[in-house]
Amino acid sequence: MNKIQINDFLKQKGSIIANGIVTNNPVFRLVLGTCPTLATTSSAINGMGMGLAATFVLVCSNVLISLLRKVIPDKIRIPAFVVIIATFVTLVQMLLQKFIPSLYESLGIFLPLIVVNCIILARAEAFASTNKVFNSALDGLGMGLGFTASLMLIGIIREFFGAGSLFYGSLAGIETGIQIEALADYSLNIFVLPAGGFLVFGLLMALINYLTDLHNKKKELKAEAKKEDALKEGRKEDLHIAFKEADLKEKNDEASIEDKAKADDAKDALKNALSDGTLNTLAGEDR
């Protein structure tokens, strides 16, 4: 393999991972797995623990499902996926109970509930069941890290305002994080309560919507300004290039729309399979 091939290879694999963390962030973009997102983020450590536990299950189940994708009959694939996922969830439960009992206690019921976390089943259906093993593992890793990062972000904000601390707690007997004494007296209890979870999640999602809009607008303005400049100066070549760029951008937009349509299709297919075409009503709403 020469250098260019290696670069291409890395780029392609990197884009699979980046897709899960940024472009299709499971929490803020796809709005999947909202229950653990809200329930386990009263502190940053819990959010991180939940995220990493889900990442582990996601990578393992993606790999196994990808390995078995030609063996599992199409008709019973959803029950088969659920059993595979449940197996790894049980594994995580046992490992945490043995080695990090404090985290096991604080995640509580949401640890077994990873089974019904829609992110994992969605990736199994949309990616792992049609892709090669290594790519599936990377997809699981990307999605898992995107989930973990989102949970940590919400956790950090809620813990900071609600308890006046950062990453405070103990992991496997080791004290972690800091308690900010000055802030602890002015902590806003509401952030640790369930209401705070809804609030922080809602505000963060609004902020991300706003930033995405701003970014898109800036891009458009830039492209237009370039076109106008070229027109004014009458330079044919520049104009040509500018038009080409605009064309390319349009094509990209189309491609991204197609991608989105594909993702939506996959989601619909999953939901169809789950419930004989009746889950579409759920997908249809809020879309």
Partner: protein, 195 residues
């Protein structure tokens, strides 16, 4: 008196959606209109009641066989099979109820509230608050009612929000989450009613 406390606790104090974060996906997904929310709510009450009874029986079997670690796998399979079974039985013997619950029945397999109530109930085994079969059943039913109450209230708010002038970034999910936040704050007032 004990049962009254159980009812108030399940519906208001430990409301599944607003204080325990279970069943958030349908809570956000199927709360556009009040009638769909009501349909979903009734289907959840129905399945939760039955699933609680089955969870009790399955857990007895697991304990007897000394394989409690299989809890997660067996429960999810039992619930999936149960939902299918309930659907078939209703279709055959109670077509009117079947058409009323309609599409919401199969949705429930992926509702974490059902698996949640089963695991929460079963986890009380061997503790002071260990429940009887009847308590299991009632807890399932009334937790489902708490879910129905929450989703119905949110749907009512969202129907009104359609006409409100909301800043663009807040449209859709964010404003729904913030409405849920205010509802959750209101439900905090119930805590302390049951010790």
């Amino acid at each position: 008196m004990e049962f009254l406390l159980l009812i108030i606790s399940a519906i208001f104090v430990n409301n599944f959606v607003l204080s325990q974060f279970l069943g958030i996906c349908p809570f956000l997904g199927v709360s556009r209109k009040t009638d769909t929310a009501l349909g979903m709510g009734f289907a959840v009450i129905f399945v939760m009641g039955i699933a609680s009874v089955f969870a009790w029986l399955v857990q007895k079997a697991l304990v007897a066989l000394n394989v409690e670690y299989l809890q997660t796998i067996t429960f999810i399979l039992v619930i999936a099979a149960l939902v299918q079974l309930v659907e078939m039985v209703l279709k055959r013997f109670m077509p009117s109820l079947y058409s009323a619950l309609g599409v919401y029945l199969p949705l429930i397999t992926t509702n974490c509230a059902v698996l949640g109530v089963a695991i929460l109930n079963v986890n009380t085994y061997g503790t002071e608050t260990a429940m009887s079969l009847l308590q299991f059943f009632l807890n399932g039913i009334f937790s489902g009612m708490g879910f129905t109450l929450a989703i119905l209230l949110l749907a009512g708010i969202r129907e009104k929000l359609e006409y409100a002038d909301i800043p663009k970034p807040f449209k859709g999910f964010p404003i729904t989450l913030i409405s849920a936040c205010l509802m959750s704050m209101a439900f905090v007032a119930f805590s302390g009613m049951v010790g």
